[in-house]
């Protein structure tokens, strides 16, 4: 959901509740909301630097200079990737240093609660500590939710613009938050070819198997018509070039990049360049282009490259 542009007087929480009731198409001019990113040139910040914490501090500066997380934001939900029992250096999960700075700066900005729900692929009791993320979340006395164990928050929603994934059970933490930030890690993925921001939402739903059985790429694109985070920060500090999503990778590159954008589709399209010469290589990006879910044309993006030392 684009906070800066949508002054319709409908909060994110209300919007999602309405769309959960299936009435979104009537209440909101969908074309304006979702099409906005396509009309203007999309701002995208690409930060380069060796120090993860400095990178993330710069990213948070950019976020707060450009509208922040919204007005009177108290509850923030952060979608990381902590699905695998792998160390931060292996690049299968979001780097905990980025999460650290995000929580620190978000709390400083006046948010009261930050919740980090994740539906991991390995038992959360193994993957969360190995990822290093739960330690960081606990350091700031915030909450990390293991959706694999604690399934009661999964809430039925309908996705009015979806082709395949018309219904899903989504973790209520994301539906009820005032602002949602998507902070995935970019890496190779054997099924979807690449996983970045759009695919990261598979860790917010109850039944991932449905996606696989019913056109994975279409479902990934479908969910992005529904879940529009306030900001997307893609961790490309180190990228698994093969053997994803779990690794360990045979080729681990260190682009040392953070990609910051409001439009997660644009962020994915830009980041895909690290792996493939064209977005055509990734089917869900082709679908996103054809269905205009977000900006996929890099030429139409206002790319701001920033060196962080």
């Amino acid at each position: 959901m684009n906070y800066d542009r949508s002054n319709a007087g409908v909060s994110r929480r209300d919007f999602l509740k309405i769309s959960a009731a299936g009435a979104a198409a009537l209440m909101l001019p969908g074309g304006r909301l979702f099409g906005a990113a396509l009309e203007d040139s999309t701002d995208i910040w690409v930060l380069h630097g060796q120090d993860n914490k400095a990178l993330m501090q710069k990213a948070m500066e950019i976020i707060f200079e450009n509208g922040g997380l919204g007005k009177n934001v108290k509850n923030v939900a952060l979608k990381v990737n902590a699905a695998w029992t792998r160390t931060p250096a292996q690049g299968a999960n979001t780097h905990p240093e980025l999460v650290d700075v995000f929580i620190e700066k978000t709390l400083e900005s006046g948010a009261k609660h930050i919740v980090v729900p994740e539906h991991p692929c390995r038992p959360g009791r193994e993957s969360f500590p190995r990822s290093g993320i739960i330690q960081v979340v606990k350091k700031y006395k915030q909450k990390m939710v293991d959706l694999g164990q604690d399934r009661k928050s999964f809430t039925d929603v309908t996705l009015p613009k979806a082709e395949e994934l018309k219904k899903a059970k989504v973790a209520a933490e994301f539906l009820e938050a005032d602002a949602v930030v998507n902070m995935p890690v970019a890496k190779h993925h054997s099924g979807a070819k690449l996983t970045m921001a759009m695919k990261n939402w598979m860790g917010a739903v109850a039944d991932r198997g449905f996606w696989h059985r019913n056109d994975l790429h279409q479902c990934i694109a479908d969910f992005s018509t529904y879940m529009k985070p306030t900001w997307t920060v893609i961790d490309a500090t180190r990228t698994m070039m093969d053997k994803g999503p779990q690794g360990p990778a045979r080729t681990l590159k260190t682009p040392n990049l953070l990609i910051v954008c409001r439009d997660q589709v644009a962020a994915d399209a830009y980041t895909s360049q690290l792996f493939h010469s064209s977005i055509d290589a990734v089917k869900y990006l082709r679908i996103a282009r054809d269905s205009k879910i977000g900006q996929t044309d890099i030429a139409k993006m206002n790319v701001k490259k920033i060196e962080v030392s």
């Binding site: 029992t85 692929c121 193994e126 993925h189 054997s190 099924g191 979807a192 070819k193 991932r208 198997g209 696989h212 059985r213 019913n214 056109d215 994975l216 790429h217 053997k243 999503p245 779990q246 690794g247 360990p248 055509d280 290589a281 089917k283």
Partner: protein, 407 residues
């Protein structure tokens, strides 16, 4: 005298309670944030008969210094005080003692006059020399431990019945197990008298020795060859192969009890020497032999399951996965899936594409047999709507070490 008897009962009951605690592997208080799987090993590992016979049959020292101490201590005590262990510490003996106490008020019924313990003892020793310690499952400490692990599996009831049956028998003939059957108790008594009067003891026990020879050697040579099945089971990591494993296993089921995923079950079929061995059952496809667990290798008191560090366990191939293409939504329906590969902790699933797939949108899974450990993650993760799923886990003849750089 009365005080001495009371003290002895107090000590025995305390050790019985301790033994129950140990074979249950706790329960440890919730505040203790570690699980100690080796607790389950303690009771069956105390038996010097198990330690001695296993070392004989495996022809190697399988015990570390730490695990050598308890059986050695019992043995040393036996030299000095004979069956002292039976009368003070043995949890099975204490259980029988409680049942036998009831017969104090009525006239005992003698069920068995002859003592067959010498035959059992020597049969175990001679069978062990020939590589198959078959009757070792009669060891009272293994019988006692069996109560924790075996009860959930029907096949385990038969070996598991030893303790309950003799508890009932003790109601008629007091201490019938300990006096007439127990090979461990007999062995401990024998050690003492051997040290004191070697010549006299051997001539007194020659009947038992001869019978033991007559039973033990044929059993160790013939039994493994009878009723062997073509199908082989999946064995716990470190078990090697079925012949070695079924020979060394005393059926204490410590591994069955210790497995947190509850995938180690008790095998109902197989040849005579393979009866009731523990096996890994991945058919349900819900649980896996996870790479972060080596519990079963830490609890085995006999070395039937070799003690493995986590790193070593992660490189043992216990089985192999096979994709059933007709059931696979990628191979059969052209879906984009590869969940099997996502969940594989060992990168053992390779991706292939059909030549007509221009953008390579539909990756197809192929198991790399050089890397597959047979842990079952792929089967558990498989989202195929077919109830059989699209991945089978097949047993391997012999467990082998997988190199990290393989394939």
């Amino acid at each position: 005298m009365k005080l001495r008897r009371m003290v002895r009962w107090l000590v025995r009951l305390c050790f019985l309670a301790l033994a129950v605690f140990l074979i249950m592997g706790g329960p440890l208080p919730q505040t203790v944030d570690v699980s100690l799987p080796w607790l389950r090993r303690v009771v069956p590992a105390v038996s010097p008969l198990v330690a001695f016979s296993e070392t004989l049959s495996q022809r190697q020292w399988y015990l570390g210094i730490f695990w050598l101490v308890p059986p050695l201590a019992v043995l040393v005590m036996a030299v000095w005080r004979g069956t002292w262990f039976c009368r003070w510490l043995c949890p099975a003996g204490t259980s029988y003692g409680i049942a036998s106490a009831i017969t104090r008020w009525k006239k005992p019924t003698i069920l068995l006059r002859r003592r067959i313990a010498p035959v059992l003892f020597f049969a175990i020793i001679f069978a062990s020399i020939f590589g198959l310690p078959q009757f070792l499952s009669l060891d009272p400490l293994s019988s006692f431990g069996r109560l924790a692990g075996g009860v959930s599996y029907t096949a385990a009831w038969i070996p598991g019945l030893i303790l309950p049956v003799f508890l009932i028998a003790s109601l008629f003939q007091p201490m019938v197990w300990c006096s007439q059957f127990c090979p461990l108790g007999y062995g401990l008594g024998l050690v003492q008298s051997l040290v004191r009067h070697p010549r006299k003891t051997i001539s007194r026990e020659r009947r038992g020795i001869l019978f033991g020879l007559a039973v033990g050697i044929p059993v160790s040579l013939v039994l493994p060859k009878i009723f062997r099945r073509k199908t082989i089971p999946i064995l716990p990591p470190g078990a090697g192969d079925i012949t070695k494993f079924s020979a060394a296993c005393t059926r204490c089921y410590a591994c069955v009890a210790a497995c947190p995923a509850k995938i180690i079950t008790v095998r109902a079929t197989g040849g005579l020497s393979e009866l009731f061995i523990p096996e890994i059952d991945l058919k349900a496809g819900t649980q896996v032999c996870t790479e972060s667990c080596n519990a079963c290798t830490l609890v085995c008191p006999t070395g039937a399951i070799k003690q493995l560090k986590l790193k070593q366990k992660q490189h043992i191939q216990i089985a192999r996965a096979k994709v059933i293409r007709e059931n696979c939504i990628a191979w059969a329906n052209g879906a984009t899936c590869m969940v099997c590969d996502e969940y594989c902790p060992y990168s053992a699933i390779d991706i292939v594409y059909k030549p007509e797939d221009e953008f390579q949108d539909i990756p197809l899974p192929m198991v790399n047999p050089g890397r597959c450990r047979g842990c079952g993650y792929c089967r558990a993760a498989c989202v195929s709507p077919n109830p059989d799923k699209a991945i089978k886990i097949l047993p391997v003849e012999k467990q082998k070490k997988v190199r990290d750089d393989a394939g």
